[in-house]
Symmetry: C2
Subunit: 237 residues, 2 copies
């Protein structure tokens, strides 16, 4: 019997690409940068995410939070997008765009339904401040927050799933992992967790090469968080 | 400038004594135990809390969550309260009385006001499951949860406060610790945090020997969470 449902956030719950594109475009407009490619900016920024985490996971560098990884990547890409003039305060504000991401339209209604039956939490590579600020701003009703900086590890490191199971004091199959990424669910299943896949085929826009569909027989396969709520027999509110 | 306000929970936010007394009395009535002393039962159970944590903090035993400490103490005291006949499932349900504690009347209204200006979280010796179940049931609107099992340490171990500061990525004096216990605030102040004291003179009932008043010049001294909200200039909602 499932007792807790955990969620990937970037891509699964929130639409990082349009949120970050919008904030980048707003800064570019303030600075008088013409022909700013907001969507390309968001994709270029996000492209530093996996390599940045990989350096931590491989042990090449010691623990840093995702906020640091995003900030270093931002410094890298600002010149090519016409924004090398941003000062420290402006960079810091822009970096916090990742704290202000907007949920997909189905996310909050679906999470409220799932919350009515189960404990819900992110199991995310975000930091606790990122995830709680995002939730507060967007009305995401988490019961608690599992952040990468609590685990001091990033997914898909098995330690993240193992820590979550240990902290919950539940049998692994009493916990469901929900993600728009097949490899995230694969890692969760390896630890004995139940799995729910949400198809988000527009997450990466023109950069998307995988996760157009479920590549395994996950316990639930859906197109929205509401679909996961249906699969878990959660009532309409 | 304060950015996050953390709260002790047992005694500060919830009234453990009357909640546990009520649940004990209900079980005793079901079992036909006459003259059950609910208040004495709650106080006797709670009396195992500090010694139980002390054995972990001193290194005498390795990490166990507060749920285990409460469960072991329950086994110890059931015979003297006429309830040695409880089976494992009944003991487990009763042990989870600590997940179902009722807030003081001022707690939820005060927390909602504080939440409107700051990130709010428990900094508690409870487990994540205890704290999230309690919050969900009682409508306590935490932004996130810091539990002892995330830190793998109990207050007043300095590690707990240091971990919280590190996870928040804030300067220590951007974080306020709120508690009904002077020694909790003393430990927080040692790490550079701001402090708010709430007077809860009936917390322990006839067993109370300390914390009838603030014993230092804490940044805020109040009788309720609403009083702390006033001290932080949080608007009425």
């Amino acid at each position: 019997m499932i007792k807790a449902v955990l969620f990937d956030t970037f891509g699964t719950i929130v639409d990082w690409r349009s949120s970050v594109a919008r904030e980048g475009a707003s800064v570019a407009a303030q600075k008088g940068v013409a022909d700013f490619d907001g969507d390309g900016f968001a994709r270029a920024w996000r492209a530093g995410y996996r390599p940045g985490m990989a350096r931590v996971t491989s042990g090449e560098r010691s623990w840093v939070s995702i906020d640091v990884i995003y900030s270093e990547r931002l410094d890298e890409i600002l010149p090519q997008f016409g924004l090398p003039m941003l000062d420290e305060a402006e960079r810091d504000h822009l970096n916090r765009a990742w704290h202000r991401l907007t949920p997909w339209p189905d996310s909050v209604p679906g999470l409220k339904r799932i919350k009515s039956k189960f404990l819900i939490s992110p199991l995310s590579n975000g930091s606790v401040v990122l995830l709680s600020t995002m939730a507060k701003r967007a009305g995401i009703p988490w019961d608690f927050i599992f952040s990468s900086d609590m685990h001091r590890a990033f997914k898909r490191n098995p330690v993240v799933y193992q820590n979550a199971i240990r902290l919950l004091g539940m049998a692994p199959d009493e916990i469901m992992m929900t993600a728009a990424h097949n490899d995230d669910l694969e890692a969760a299943r390896k630890e004995g967790m139940r799995t729910a896949y949400i198809n988000r085929p527009t997450e990466y826009g023109i950069d998307q090469t995988v996760d157009f569909e479920a590549t395994s027989d996950w316990d639930i396969i859906a197109d929205t968080v509401e679909g996961v709520a249906d699969g878990l027999d959660c009532p309409q509110l």
